[in-house]
């Protein structure tokens, strides 16, 4: 079961974008992530390495025909950390709305 935990590693803007993409996917191609987020190869590699070092992302390399491809996916720990981060964000919103005297809602709903 998840608990709410604000994760500074995930919350950094670029990493939040990467983890959000990966959270909706079983896995995603490196080039797809790079193009969707408008990052350079080196910038994405750096962020994925940081997430991989934290145990949040699994990297798989292989070939499609003769072309080398790299796929990334959220690890079990990464998915749990993401869920906890989402829970923390929702709790922050609920608390700020309590302060403002409004009922809690989730954006997009």
């Amino acid at each position: 079961m998840s608990t709410a935990r604000f994760d500074e590693l995930i919350h950094a803007p670029t990493r939040l974008e990467i983890v959000s993409l990966l959270a909706a996917a079983q896995w995603a191609d490196f080039r797809y992530i790079r193009d969707e987020l408008g990052l350079s190869d080196s910038a994405l590699s750096k962020q994925l390495s940081t997430l991989e070092a934290a145990g949040y992302v699994d990297i798989r390399k292989g070939f499609v025909g003769k072309r080398p491809r790299t796929w990334a996916s959220l690890s079990k720990a990464g998915r749990q950390a993401f869920d906890e981060h989402v829970a923390a964000l929702q709790r922050i919103i609920a608390r700020s709305q309590l302060h403002a005297g409004a009922g809690p809602t989730v954006p997009g709903h």
Partner: protein, 180 residues
């Protein structure tokens, strides 16, 4: 892990709007993944063209035309399926529940059945009524169904996947609200 940690420096309102922005970003990115996992709209038009070409070749009655156009139409459809769908699946694979996958498969097979019923039914009716070019017209009707129903199936599947992604986000939030 059990205690929720928040940036202390930010005020409640600023933290709230920052968190809302982050959640909106998460939902936006998840929508992006789901769109990328579906075939593009042009795919349905590209599939419709060889269907009509097949019908026209059959109606021509010219063996040489049929010998060239029919295998070519089949080849174009095979290449489209063989190139587009694996490429989409190679880019990203969406995290979907079994129920969503089952509904997606049902929607696709339902659309294929509808295209076949319309094309064959129209061609058979027109042939019986001795209308000229019945197979071309039947195939054109089936292709029109494909062009209309294809994007509708895309939209339906996207809706299913988005709903599932939002449910997962809400479940994460509800679980996080419980005492650790």
């Amino acid at each position: 892990m059990s205690e929720m940690q928040q940036p202390r420096s930010a005020g409640a309102g600023a933290a709230g709007s920052g968190a809302a922005g982050a959640l909106a970003e998460i939902q936006r990115r998840q929508g992006q993944v789901i769109r990328a996992a579906l075939v593009p709209v042009w795919y349905w038009w590209a599939m419709a063209a060889p269907i009509i070409a097949y019908g026209a070749a059959r109606d021509s009655g010219n063996v040489a035309v049929q010998a060239i156009v029919i295998p070519l139409a089949v080849l174009v459809m095979a290449v489209l399926i063989g190139a587009t769908i694996p490429e989409v699946r190679r880019r990203v694979k969406v995290h979907s529940a079994r129920r969503t996958v089952a509904r997606t498969v049902a929607a696709i097979f339902g659309m294929i059945a509808l295209v076949d019923i319309v094309a064959i039914g129209t061609a058979a009716s027109l042939t019986a009524a001795r209308v000229p070019h019945p197979i071309t017209i039947g195939c054109a009707a089936g292709a029109a169904v494909l062009v209309i129903a294809g994007p509708l199936v895309n939209r339906y599947v996207r809706g299913l996947m988005l709903r599932e992604a939002r449910q997962r986000l809400n479940q994460a939030g509800q679980a996080g609200g419980r005492p650790a």
